[in-house]
């Protein structure tokens, strides 16, 4: 019998936009979903946030036909250091999980190939779940623009040959005996060892959101101290349909170490299809 799986995820300023859609991607494949929300509606960086809670609870209850979702309220802003609050919240939520296999997906991550990951891949790695953390690959949309014909186009981070850029991995699966030490990196995987790569790809909407929301995001994430002085936000706001092709070999802000080769426009309705066609390149 397969090991039961718990998911932890976080409710914050972007929950209305992303969280229900993110949960829908994995709901059927896991046994429990623990969502954390700060009891004072304060971010890890100490700023207040507000969301449409009625709408969120309604949407979540519509998804939760099997009663898998629990919401935990707690003080997740005790430290003045954002990353400490980030770690604390994840560890606190982990402790509330009923199962040993802990999956951690953030609200702005939409799993592209969840079925294959949970059905085909997880049984293979289950014997190693206590020793190794599992990583997924991010596919990163950069900015949504309108082209000259009025169509919505999503600029995707891409390689020079226009295939999706799959150069960034994130640890997302661990076991209950681990401790989150830097966001989702744990005492097992944080130093670079004990990591298993996986075929799982998530469309990571971290940066690709309306300007006001992006501003809110980069000032409230766990590593917000790293991005405060970063030119990323200023460059991002200046990118238009007319100049996006000038973005080449550019920096990713405080979100990773990789250089991004370029961006390419994909019709917004075809972003997932673009990724699905290239999944074999991620693993």
């Amino acid at each position: 019998m397969a090991k039961k799986k718990s998911v932890i995820s976080l409710i914050s300023y972007d929950a209305n936009r992303f969280l229900p859609n993110s949960i829908k991607r994995y709901y059927n494949y896991v046994d429990e979903i623990i969502l954390g929300i700060d009891k004072d509606r304060i971010t890890w960086s100490g700023n207040s946030f507000s969301i449409d809670e009625d709408a969120l609870w309604t949407e979540l209850s519509q998804i939760d036909g099997d009663g898998k979702i629990s919401i935990i309220e707690e003080d997740f802003h005790q430290s003045k250091v954002a990353i400490e609050n980030d770690n604390y919240e994840r560890n606190f939520l982990k402790e509330q999980c009923s199962h040993d296999w802990i999956f951690s997906f953030d609200a702005d991550e939409m799993l592209v190939n969840a079925k294959s990951f949970f059905y085909d891949f997880c049984p293979i790695v289950e014997p190693y779940m206590y020793k190794m953390d599992i990583c997924m690959t991010w596919a990163t949309p950069y900015k949504v623009l309108t082209d000259n014909d009025g169509n919505s186009q999503t600029l995707m981070i891409a390689n020079t040959d226009d295939t999706p850029f799959f150069g960034e991995n994130q640890g997302v699966v661990t076991s209950k005996d681990s401790t989150f030490t830097y966001a989702r990196w744990t005492d097992k995987s944080g130093a670079g060892g004990n990591r298993l790569m996986s075929p799982l790809v998530a469309l990571h909407w971290s940066l690709c959101r309306p300007e006001k929301e992006l501003h809110e995001k980069i000032h409230n994430i766990g590593h917000s101290d790293l991005v405060e002085k970063d030119p990323f936000y200023q460059i991002w706001s200046q990118v238009t349909w007319d100049n996006f092709h000038e973005l080449e070999n550019f920096k990713t802000s405080g979100l990773g170490e990789a250089q991004w080769p370029k961006v390419i426009p994909i019709p917004s309705s075809q972003v997932e299809e673009y990724l699905v066609q290239n999944l074999g390149r991620a693993y």
Partner: protein
Amino acid sequence: MNIEIVGKFYDNHSLTIINRNIALELTKYHNVFITSLDSFDPTHGVEKNIVKTLKELQGKEHPENGPDIQLRHSYPPIWQWPVNEATKVVYIQPWEYPKIPFEWQYKWETFADHVIVPSNYIRDVAVRGGINPKKITTVPNGYNEKVFNKEAKPLTRYGINPDKFNFVYVGNSQWRKGLDLLINAWHNCFKSYDNARLIIKDSPQIYGKNSVLNELIKMQYKTDCAKVLYIDDPLTDEEMAGLFTASKVVVHPYRAEGFGMHIQEAAACGCVPILPDTGPHQDFIPDDVGRRIKTHPKHVDITSGQIFAQKPGDSFTMMNSHTFMNEPDGQSLQKMLQWAYHSHDKKDYFEKVKNTTFPNTWESVVQSYVKVLEDLHDTQPRAIRH
């Protein structure tokens, strides 16, 4: 006779296992004391009473005039002169590749009183490299027949099911071990619906971390091959014996090997060996036990990092960069794996291995050591010492 053994004694590296067993057995014949290059670490799971005896041998007072013979077994070899001029130096030296470093030939000729190698394959390599044939003797590595036998309780941890048709591979991902050949063959031979399993026992504590597990998982996901179990925990001798009795076949498609201790241990536990058609195992696995993979000589650059992972102390002067190695044929390996799983006549092979006696117990091996050391003791030291 006073004998000092210098080497590691407390981990589970093959050299250490040999040192441990020689030391324990040799005390029955002579006054043995040990100089250990490592210290006790409980994670290696060495039996308590063995550790106690080793500690006693380590703490023993050294004879006033030094040992009569200093038996050195380490990698890289220790090249220092013995403290006492009268002490004779004997090297136990494993090697795997078809050429020995020139320095070894020079230094052994200069001041080694004798060299013991574990297989005739290495002896031939050393003699071809210029060692005086009179100065080098083959004494095989032994095994503990009280632990490694057909009655050992099968291991059922790590998801091992003894009712499956388990193939076992013991070794790391070094190129010479041929794990890459086995992985390639595996996904071509067996699919997830087959009852076959491949168990890989690695030792990253000794040979360093690697990406084998990631590769094995990717292979299973992408090819839907039969399940592979990967074990990188240190196992005790008893657990290793249980791994072998839980398995039907030991497969080792090596390109270069010095002896292959686990082959002997696995066969003693009843595993049918699938091995290359040439190599050091020919000293202790009869030709009609198990099956053989065809090999062909392959030209390689031995100084390539892929072929030979250099360590501090290695030296390649005059070793030459190019040589031939015995490359196991991938198709032949596949054939052997499929034969083991599917063939109706394999019962005969299991009977054969079960009825074969593997003579290299530590007791008998150390008797050979005693003979070499006593013969040497009766000779004069080399002239260069005076």
